[in-house]
Symmetry: C2
Subunit: 119 residues, 2 copies
DNA sequence: CTAAATGCAAACTATTTGCAACGAT
DNA sequence: ATCGTTGCAAATAGTTTGCATTTAG
């Protein structure tokens, strides 16, 4: 595991946010002023392909990176605000329904956050 | 609803595929040779914002468009093959767990398709 | 000494935007 | 005449790639 990969992984694991490549780049640059975007992207891809981080594709916004530990996401349909939620695990349930072994699943729940509901 | 919006909506509703903007553009061009990509994108956005179609963001591939009727997706983690599945509806369950009203949810189940498992 | 990781710039893909022309009320 | 829709070209955002240089084992 390379120096930057290490730091990036740590940033993702420490953070409560779901950061974009750009945000991670800016964050990393604070302590590593020489780093460039491409390196961040390359490391993110490596981490993703090695199953060390999750990648979240959200409509109309750049990909976000997240820790691997299983949890689900609550997304405001209007402002796009994204937060973590812990719902009961569906793996067994899904496997029963599908009669297939599954690797993982990704559950996004859309709602209107308080702010957007009030407008 | 504009002429093209209409045709695009029909294409999406008729098709069993989950087409990208590019594929829809090519398909539409068969009968409407003058249409350009930007128009397709603009119409897709309008349809999406009016809640007439779904938009699927998949890691490492362009967005795909889908009919609105509720169903879930099975995605091969390796080759990216995407198919529809009908799982039991989780809305009530999720609302109970979250104690929040939800608008919808998006469930992607990752697995290895037969082809990829055999390699 | 060698291989892997990095910096840099350029390329590429997906998508959006500004604007002029067109078409249907 | 007016307003929304289209075609076109250029712009932009996000991401990837090729290659020369640096770094670590």
């Amino acid at each position: 595991m390379s120096r930057y990969a290490d730091l990036i992984l740590e940033l993702i694991n420490q953070s409560k946010e779901h950061m974009t490549a750009e945000q991670l780049f800016l964050e990393l640059k604070k302590t590593e002023p020489k780093v460039v975007q491409a390196t961040v992207y390359n490391n993110l891809n490596a981490l993703y392909q090695n199953g060390l981080i999750r990648k979240l594709s959200i409509e109309n916004s750049p990909d976000r990176y997240d820790k691997i530990r299983k949890h689900d996401h609550l997304v405001c349909r209007k402002c796009g605000e994204l937060s973590d939620i812990n719902l009961e695990d569906l793996t067994k349930n899904l496997e029963n329904q599908l009669k297939e072994e599954i690797l993982s699943y990704d559950l996004k729940v859309f709602y209107l956050c308080k702010k957007c509901r009030e407008e």
